[in-house]
Symmetry: C2
């Protein structure tokens, strides 16, 4: 028996032990959607995450949603009512925002490898371009000239520090992400001389991080680094984008980030921070933390087999929809995502089974030797924490299988 990640605290069952999502049973949602596999996103959970973040964080701190985490347009439309803007990294993401009715909203356009066309269309759409290199800055200025628009440019900084944490650590090493900190002042002076609308700095130091202390250290170091750059420029900083990097617990033993602890430390750091940052707008860009827990992936059991004394449930889903929850292409070092039998939610977990997807690879496993209530062919399996980096981060064309359905409730 191997453990599973914690089911987010928002979910409960009805009197018949049917999992409810947004107050509706999983079976009813599947019937409404027309079948499985199905991603259901509960907007109340997204709303609760945003509300708790806003309550904790300093007044005036801007919250941006990173579209890459989940570009489902009804979800973007919902988020548009509550966040201060969006982070996009491609024209495709920009077009998702337009189709979600959010053409006029604040946007930062980030990421390396922006083509000339992307720069021009991003500038035309009013986005702040986060330039990753001197070469890209020069191309952005020319793109603004072509568009006849004074471009809004921020500078992504490759900071001279890195943070020790279990997550993905960025900074203090050679990278195509951002300009080495010591070259930033001269780049910004060049931008100001060229007459662009300089919008500030982006400095990220972590991703997929659950370690409060590491994030607090990262924020301190980012603010100190930004202060150094501003002193060198001898001018105040319009905006400092602290990046994101907040993860949610998906695996056994993981603990959620303490947002209040983070926020208190950020208050403190800002209060004691560099004078030139006193009027700076702070911003956070979050993806996974805002939407991962709102999503449930529902897949139906197609077969129940025995092999070498173990029981397998084969479902109609798989890593082509939710790669991160399977062992496909990934080491399973972190274990099993939270998983349940949706038709027997909260009933005793009396049986050890391995729950697989339908792909013809032995890595396509959602639940490796997990304890669940006894499930039969036709039952629904629910995989939680499926709201971020699901469909769009999975190889949907693998084995030429149908895409999953999606639904916002």
């Amino acid at each position: 028996m191997k453990p599973t990640g914690p089911i987010p605290p928002y979910f409960e069952a009805d009197a018949d032990s049917q999992l409810l999502i947004g107050g509706v049973s999983a079976e009813e949602l599947v019937a409404d959607a027309g079948g499985t596999p199905l991603f259901v996103y509960d907007n109340n959970i997204v709303g609760a995450q945003i509300a708790s973040l806003k309550a904790a964080m300093p007044d005036g701190l801007a919250i941006y949603y990173s579209v890459t985490a989940n570009p489902y347009e009804p979800l973007l439309n919902f988020l548009g009512r509550y966040v201060d803007g969006f982070r996009v990294v491609s024209l495709g993401e920009l077009n998702h925002l337009k189709r979600a009715g959010l053409a006029g909203i604040g946007m930062t356009f980030a990421g390396p490898g922006k083509g000339d066309d992307e720069l021009e269309r991003g500038i035309s759409a009013g986005a702040t371009i986060s330039v990753e290199s001197e070469g890209e800055a020069a191309r952005a200025i020319r793109a603004g000239e072509r568009a006849g628009i004074r471009p809004k440019l921020a500078v992504r900084v490759n900071p001279p520090f890195s943070i020790d944490s279990r997550g993905l650590t960025l900074g203090a090493r050679p990278t195509p992400f951002g300009v080495d900190a010591e070259r930033v002042p001269s780049l910004v002076e060049g931008l100001l001389d060229a007459g662009v609308d300089w919008r500030g700095l982006h400095i990220f130091a972590a991703a997929q991080c659950l370690d409060d202390s590491a994030l607090i250290e990262a924020h301190k170091a980012i603010i100190s680094c930004a202060g150094d750059i501003c002193r060198s420029l001898d001018r105040p900083l319009p905006e400092l984008n602290l990046g994101g990097g907040f993860d949610v617990p998906c695996f056994a033993g993981e603990q959620p980030i303490d947002i209040y602890r983070l926020a208190n430390a950020l208050h403190e750091t800002v209060r004691n921070g560099p004078e030139l940052l006193a009027t700076t707008r702070l911003s956070l860009e979050l993806g996974r933390w805002l939407v991962a827990e709102c999503g449930v992936y529902l897949t139906r059991v197609l077969d129940r087999t025995e092999s070498c004394g173990e029981t397998f449930l084969t479902t109609d889903g798989g890593g082509h929809h939710l790669l991160g929850a399977t062992g496909c292409l990934l080491e399973r070092g972190r274990g099993n995502f939270p998983i349940a039998v949706a038709n027997k939610f909260g009933t005793p977990a009396e049986e050890q089974v391995t729950v697989t997807g339908c792909l013809a690879t032995p890595h396509d496993i959602f639940g490796d030797e997990v304890m669940l209530p006894p499930a039969e062919v036709g039952n629904l399996i629910a995989i939680f924490c499926a709201g971020a980096y699901g469909l769009s981060a999975s190889p949907q064309g693998w084995e030429s299988r149908p895409s999953a359905r999606e639904m916002l409730v």
Copy 2:
């Protein structure tokens, strides 16, 4: 400096050091296709692989192409002239064959998690269904009744051995892939009693394997296992599908499989093999080995930057098209795929650079600290061994970026 995998021996340059694919320069191919990123597949290379395999292997051995490796329809159409059939694992793959003009060709339909509709449509299309469990066998019989067709069924066996190799090893452990060998005779007797057209056994023991000796051992063990099952049934075996699992060298230091050595050993094993297999049709199912080397992924340099003293080339491609060649989601334990500057093919590799894709993740690396001829913005980068598990095995929706183009030459 880190090494790269070997460029397949089929590629050369013209007098201007332009990489030729199928006799045409990479730049011309990109112009014909309308831009980058572009997958080019050279049918002469596929033809050469098939010809060498047929020359080596025993007469009458059937070669099936595993559509999952690359479902590009013009490539399927080309393959249809030379292979004995196709392996599909989904209705989507079956439909690719139909659209490629191959509706009547031999097919095996394999993989766990086949739905009732898939079984019925597979049987109606004339495919041999490789059943993975007793439950699936029962559903396949019912699907044949619904379709009014006597179903052709083979049985996938979970063999009682495993092969020690560097590749992916299957068998001798609990799995949803196939029926434990000791239960196979009674399952086959049940199928015969039910009046199905029993087509034989599928026994796979390896995947992604470059180890001749391990494959030879696997074939011996498979034939022995099949012999045991036939003795228990006391009847000859119509067909024995040996699976596939032949890899090609993609990383530094890897050596190609010696097809002649494999074939000689297989001849020997069959000659000395069980009497009940004397009339058995042998078959191999190959994907990667047939098509990986025919493919080149072409992507254009968008930016050239320096960071902490190192040089980065950022391209317009990425792991959303060719996940296996990047570090995205995968450990980079095996290193760099073969890579070249297509406009300077065969010229001296005088510069150490890191070649990245355009995705906003630090794992999106095609060439990590590789030596290449000095490349500029606008040059084409070629990544080889891109003909298998490329576009269809990659998260094409990641960051909502455009798909790659594809072309058969």
